[in-house]
Assembly symmetry: C2
Homo-oligomer: 409 residues x 2
Amino acid sequence: MSAVPGGPLPAALAGDADDPGRSRRARAWLSRAFEPGTAEVVRWVEQQGPVAAVRALLRGSAPPRVLALAGSRLAEDRTADDLAAAARIGARLVTPEDEEWPTVALHCLTLAAAGGDQGGDRTTALVPPLALWVRGRPRLDHATVRSVAVVGSRASTAYGNHVAADLAAGLADRGWSTVSGGALGIDAAAHRGALAAGGTTVAVLACGVDRVYPRQHEALFAAVLAEGLLVSEWPPGCASLGHRFLVRNRLIAALTAGTVVVEAAARSGAQATAHRARGLGKVVMAVPGPVTSAMSVGCHQLLRADDGVQLVSSAAEVLEAVGELGVDLADPPARPDDVRDDLPDVARRVLDACPVRVGVPPERLAAIAGCAELDALRVLPVLELHGLVERTGTGWRVARGRSPGVHAR
Amino acid sequence: MSAVPGGPLPAALAGDADDPGRSRRARAWLSRAFEPGTAEVVRWVEQQGPVAAVRALLRGSAPPRVLALAGSRLAEDRTADDLAAAARIGARLVTPEDEEWPTVALHCLTLAAAGGDQGGDRTTALVPPLALWVRGRPRLDHATVRSVAVVGSRASTAYGNHVAADLAAGLADRGWSTVSGGALGIDAAAHRGALAAGGTTVAVLACGVDRVYPRQHEALFAAVLAEGLLVSEWPPGCASLGHRFLVRNRLIAALTAGTVVVEAAARSGAQATAHRARGLGKVVMAVPGPVTSAMSVGCHQLLRADDGVQLVSSAAEVLEAVGELGVDLADPPARPDDVRDDLPDVARRVLDACPVRVGVPPERLAAIAGCAELDALRVLPVLELHGLVERTGTGWRVARGRSPGVHAR
């Protein structure tokens, strides 16, 4: 389907002005037209709104620089194909207009992009995505609201794999999800560790969510989809090009409360990743290892650089670094006569699964707590009666009245 | 030999008033009479001078607290025996009146002791020694002027032993000596690493320098004596009592430019050692290890405590932390047309062996450089001609005029 200026109405612009699908289609079109990471494009699109932006681009009335960045992609309209391809594999396009858009997490990128010129290197720029292709059941905001990035070398050691899996499992045990890049090595170990502990994990890819890269990860990606999400800025069918990994990395940092580098070689991308995460106001952590291991040199370099990178050796220490004060402390002091102590096991697990801020639906709580949804539905009213949880528009969360620390995880 | 008040003149006070041996004998007596680590005793002795202090103690005119601290030891005078025992094994008593007393290094303890009450716990007090029993050839000040403490657990792992030996060897390669406690585990590995690289090493003991504790270290102590020193605050024959190890630890920190903790278990003495070294204004460093190793937990706790403990993974990084700025940087930039580049190998090694501050005699330079003393004597005038070294009262050192960095180690 072609959509040269003056041609037939493109799929991206079909429908009434008040059709909410129209802005989604416009963002699908934009997601195909532009490589992510250019602040200029994103600022202009968000000023115009997506539909007006697409119209201006097709009419040739967009700013010349923006027109030039789309280039020959202006001539094609694969919107309907891309959305159909996504639908076929159970994926969806999530846009800033959607309720599940991770607005709070991505605010750091919006701020950074508004801050003006970042030197023109798209691979290091801090720019929010125009839209995200998401595959999997959980809501994107729910899956990332309490999440940590666990990343590292593809050429990891058995030690690194063990630690990455252990950290992710420990995070899952405490109701936190693990975000990583779906790559070989540390990324894969982190995803697997989260899954093994029954937790949620999110793989942010540098290719379409219909692609499996690396090929060896067919089973891993299927397992991630069973409990978590595959996320990408690129439409279905797009390949993992080298520069896309670098552009993608900012999203992993932005979506999470902090980034843990588990293993990294000397002068690897770890420094750049850490620097960007710090630039976004996120906590950056590194796991030490044997000084005799080449794969720990990058971590030690980060820790020696003394720009606030924190040494962590356990999930508890990770949550101490990123957690809300008093809520996720590594070792909350014991509290006598807590009503929680008398709760039945399932009720306690469901309570521990409740997030502090954004309420989540019972089926999600059941998944985190490791019980049947029916069990969760049965105990939630009891917990509410005790004043331990409360209902919000999006589901259940820890009751605001509870003093911090009582909700020990 | 007894010396009750009013009895015959004790050996400690024999000799003319202007006999320099008299103050040495007085300090030998004091070294037997008092357990080290009490600021009150040391302040009083240094105010009186050692001979007057002994006289006041024997007359009973010393302050009651000081008399009480000596207790029944007042009744014995083993000075002559102790000095004879030391002489038999080639040991000597080094006192603040001697040229080889490490005045600069121990100044931090003098300052701390002058700072007043330290809470009364002798095992953690920062108090200078009254005298030091020293066994071995090098001068104590020369052997410690460019030294680092490498310490850690007795129950070390193969990894820890490897790293300790490697650090000590790397320090030796750069002309720095390694100070440790002569214990099993990390201490032994550090001493051995220094010796294997032909370097100087100093074992600061919690027993007399005639004793071998632990017994397994008979060969190690003999090897240390061939190149370095055994040092103790306690007279010959004294046993390693538990509290003496803790009192001894402050000396290891004080004598060195910095302390590296290689392996330590959780809640081990490493924290206390590090805290005291910091209190003395010394650099404290820790080597990371696998987060899965119980023997690295104490190091990681130190590094996480964020009170200035530095992560180090190599001798170069240790010297970067403790070294004089611009002189011992880990990777000094290459300098073209340096006259050093044209030096014959032996001359270069002798130059590298020269200290920056206190000049050392040619035989010591030869030992560090790994050449015959005759070779050192042959090349030193050439180096002086090039303006690279200069002669001082105590021997040879790097010429002051040389810009920092040229003397790359």
